[in-house]
């Protein structure tokens, strides 16, 4: 008996050990609540989701894709080949062993690349501990297997070294398999299962607009328990998704709350949620701690509350989130962090009223006056006195329905809205506003108050059904996202357009003729709810380019844009950190050297304008366009006057 002939048995042993471990994990997943999953479609779509969608995300960090392709291919290839070796006759072939050795060599090359990310010093976003030891086990398995298979391909001239290789491979391989349930390697099986049984399969369909896969899903308000309290409350494929995490830390590197020193790290949170169902961390969490970590008991269990000082996660952690989706965008395992955070918030708000900061007042106002700040919704158009804003009575029709949103009650937001209204008048657009526009419910929903959101959504859909319009125009990406992507669940299907896209069309079709502005360079801050949530990056940029200003991009822009800190009710919860998120963002603006930062969202405007000291000017795209259009009108008047002078002369 040669050492190499034992390699296939080693792989079988690894499969059995890993199978037992994953099986124990799967029993935990089964204790989750019901989820409607299309297994057949999911499994069919798995190869594409893995090879295309996952690879696209992994490949954004080249050091990750270059390491993962050979390691995964080598591991799966060599193990598969070795299982094939159990077929009698094959194991006798030297060519077979040469191929096996090649697979091990590919894997070994990958392991070198893995090790270079971690030794001598690991990248700061990576977890240490077990994760730091994984390359060692991978290396033992690849190196030992390579030695053993290579010798076998030469006819096993050195049996001692063959056995040495076998022992090394067995040590590494069995160590990997033993951790298949709680260690780093669980990401392989849990990750594949998560891809196939993903809670949001629509996110893998490129034909659908991006927003279709980013809207929050409604919950049944008659359910016994509202929101998620304990691991068993989560849908089983959500529990599975937590286990898919490989703790690469890309989410943490992208998280604005983490950067500002608020006690949130998406990676840590997902690790905690994964550990909670099994009763706590199997080995100490070895990533960066939550910044300014609040102390909690760190006790878990399938039926143990996750949030709270007696649980796994401090409430401040879930309330620090701005719902900017930067973590979701970055996650190579396609985990939906924001969904789980909102689910946890829903339980806190709906069952306990435990909203921090000004949250209780905001929700009281939303519930009792239909407006988060307690304004009378009948006064929403007061800011537009003198602008001759048409209000739609029941049964009336218009082409474009202007959705004003919360900005109508904020003096800074009103400036933007006035600019937009002037531009619409200039372009002779047929537009009007609702007689009584309630809040769209975005803020209430993200603060976890699903009951108020659903009531507002139904009331707004009722009001919208009484008037006629082609499409809804709004300058607020939060309202845009809610109306476009979250109202369909309640029977409101509308074509909703953001003012940047609408104005861009007006300029492109010549209905607005802006002059070219001169002046210092400009940079554009992508609102999360327009960019990452709805995939609209180009229209605002095209519009700014039409103004003729030099446009500089921040290091974090478009899909990687950093949140202003204003989303998801984060300014309401106001969880203290070391810094303010808008200060960090304004620093990034400063690094471009631009004198003006163009924004396209009233939240971003408010947050960035709240930055003190010497900073770039904050202008909405509509305001800049109005400047250019008014300058153009001046020039036109001048040229006409000159023409008249010439005529009279």
């Amino acid at each position: 008996m040669t050492a190499a002939s034992l390699l296939p048995l080693l792989v079988l042993a690894m499969i059995v050990v890993a199978g037992v471990q994953i099986g124990r994990r799967a029993l935990l997943w089964r204790s989750g609540s019901f989820a409607d999953v299309d297994w057949v479609a999911g499994v069919k779509a798995l190869p594409k989701r893995y090879l295309v969608d996952v690879h696209h995300v992994v490949d954004r960090d080249k050091s990750a894709s270059r390491m993962h392709v050979p390691v995964a291919a080598g591991l799966v290839g060599s193990a598969g080949l070795l299982v094939l070796g159990l077929v009698p006759g094959i194991a006798g072939s030297r060519i077979y062993w040469a191929v096996v050795a090649l697979a091990f060599a590919v894997m070994a090359a990958g392991v070198v690349l893995v090790a270079r990310r971690r030794y001598p010093r690991a990248m700061p976003r990576l977890s240490l501990g077990r994760y730091q030891r994984t390359p060692v086990y991978l290396g033992l398995f690849a190196g030992g297997g390579l030695l053993c298979a290579l010798l076998a391909s030469f006819g096993d001239p050195l049996p001692f070294f063959s056995f040495l290789g076998l022992i090394l491979a067995a040590a590494g391989g069995l160590a990997l398999a033993a951790q298949a349930a709680t260690g780093p390697m669980r990401h392989a099986l849990a990750g594949a299962a998560h891809l196939a049984l993903h809670p949001r399969p629509e996110r893998f369909d490129e034909r659908l607009p991006k927003g279709r896969a980013t809207g929050l899903k409604p919950i049944d308000l008659d359910a016994a328990k509202l929101g998620r309290e304990e691991p068993a409350d989560f849908a089983w494929n959500r529990l599975l998704s937590f286990d898919a995490c490989i703790q690469c830390g890309r989410c943490e590197a992208a998280c604005p709350a983490f950067a500002a020193g608020q006690p949130l790290s998406p990676k840590h949170l997902i690790a905690d949620l994964a550990a909670a169902s099994g009763g706590g961390h199997a080995s100490a969490y070895a990533g960066n701690p939550y910044p300014n970590e609040r102390s909690v008991a760190r006790e878990g269990g399938l039926h143990h509350a996750v949030i709270g000082t007696g649980g796994m996660v401090h409430p401040d952690t879930i309330w620090s989130c701005t719902t900017c989706r930067a973590c979701v965008e970055e996650c190579p395992m396609m985990i939906e962090h924001v969904d789980s955070i909102v689910d946890l918030r829903r339980y806190q708000t709906l069952e306990h009223g435990a909203v921090p900061g000004k949250g209780a007042d905001i929700l009281d106002n939303s519930r009792l006056t239909d407006e988060p700040n307690g304004h009378d919704v009948a006064t929403r158009t007061d800011f537009a006195a003198g602008l001759d804003l048409k209000r739609l009575d029941d049964g009336a029709r218009t082409d474009v329905l202007l959705w004003m949103g919360q900005a109508a009650f904020d003096m800074r937001g009103q400036r933007t809205l006035r600019a937009l209204i002037k531009l619409l008048k200039e372009a002779k657009v047929d537009f009007a506003v609702l007689g009584e526009e309630r809040d769209c419910g975005d803020l209430a929903r993200r603060l976890g108050d699903e009951a108020t959101f659903q009531r507002l959504a139904r009331a707004n859909i009722g009001a919208l059904s009484k008037v006629g319009f082609q499409r809804i125009l709004t300058a607020d990406p939060h309202a845009l996202h809610t109306l476009r992507n979250e109202y369909p669940a309640f029977g409101g299907d509308y074509e909703v357009v953001h003012h940047t896209a609408f104005l861009n069309d007006l300029v492109a079709s010549g209905r607005l003729s802006p002059a070219r502005l001169t002046g210092a360079a400009i940079t554009y801050h992508d609102p999360c709810y327009l960019g990452r949530y709805n995939g609209e990056f180009d229209a605002p940029r095209a519009l700014l380019d039409a103004l003729g200003l030099e446009r500089r991009e921040m290091a974090r822009s478009k899909r990687k844009s950093m949140c202003c800190g204003g989303g998801g009710g984060a300014p309401i919860a106001d969880i203290p950190g070391d810094n303010r998120i808008p200060d960090l963002r304004m620093e990034q603006v400063r690094q471009t050297g631009a004198a003006t930062v163009a924004v396209a969202c009233p939240q971003c405007t408010a947050m960035l304008e709240g930055v003190t000291g010497d900073r770039a000017e904050v202008r909405d795209v509509a305001e800049l366009l109005l400047d250019a259009v008014e300058a153009g009108r001046g020039e036109k008047a001048k040229t006409e006057a000159r023409a008249r002078e010439v005529e009279t002369a």
Binding site: L221, K225, L226, T349, L350, E351, H352, G353, A354, V355, G359, A360, L363, D364, R367, L368, T369, D370, G374, H375, D376, D449, A451, T452
Partner: protein
């Protein structure tokens, strides 16, 4: 200890919708802090405000099915007499159409109970059957009184803020409906209030005129400056404002 929190037919100041008065939400918070058996009591038709009250800490509400606009005093009095709570809490002022803010006083008179106004904190007294109440007085003054139960207490806006609304709790809470006891009143007696359009009234100011008797001796037209100074000093001394 049995506590009853009186719930009025309040309206939201901005939207005019049926809503729980903030003072009553604060009363619920005070009662919760004190502990014991806590019930809400409302006389009138079904109202969203009752769900609000369930959402901020009450779990049981008794509703007397009185017709809209009727004076709830007799219904509340007979219910309270039967229920016999130790502590009755109410807001210090009304926040609804016909609310006058006098109801707690009328109830106290009717039931022969002590009334302590403007509470900001209530805790059990050192002796059984008593409570210690902190009252908010003018200019930030506080007064601590110990009273023997049963007692009616009205709550001041400076009491601790109310609990945040929780939809789940509002959904779980129980509202039990009781018929009106008095069959005559059940038919809906007309209100003794009369509705009139608002009319601006002239401001009442004390004015001195030469014609009125008392003021005549105090009115001096264009007096000699020295004489005027003497008169002013006399006046100040007479009234104890300036003393030698």
């Amino acid at each position: 200890m049995k506590t009853t929190v009186l719930l009025s037919a309040a309206r939201h100041p901005v939207s005019g919708r049926e809503a729980l008065a903030r003072l009553e939400a604060q009363a619920i918070a005070l009662a919760t802090r004190l502990g014991g058996d806590i019930r809400g009591l409302h006389a009138g038709p079904e109202s969203d405000a009752l769900r609000e009250a369930l959402g901020v800490g009450l779990s049981k509400i008794d509703r007397i099915d009185a017709p809209n606009g009727s004076d709830p005093m007799e219904d509340l009095a007979s219910h309270l007499r039967a229920a016999g709570p130790d502590l009755i809490l109410a807001g210090r002022r009304g926040q609804g159409g016909l609310d006058s803010g006098l109801l707690p006083y009328r109830l106290a008179e009717r039931l022969g109970l002590t009334l302590v106004a403007d509470a900001i904190a209530i805790e059990a007294g050192s002796e059984a059957g008593t409570v210690r109440i902190d009252q908010a007085l003018k200019k930030g003054d506080r007064r601590r009184v110990t009273v023997r139960l049963p007692v009616i207490v009205t709550v001041h806006p400076l009491a601790p803020p109310p609990a945040a609304f929780a939809y789940g709790a509002a959904r779980r809470g129980m509202i039990s409906t009781h018929p009106v006891n008095d069959p005559i009143r059940q038919e809906g007696q007309g209100s003794e209030w009369e509705e009139r359009p608002y009319r601006n009234r002239p401001k009442l100011m004390r004015t001195a005129s030469a014609s009125s008797g008392d003021a005549a001796e105090k009115l001096f037209v264009d007096p000699d400056p020295k004489e005027a100074a003497r008169l002013i000093l006399d006046y100040l001394e007479r009234n104890g404002i300036r003393q030698f």
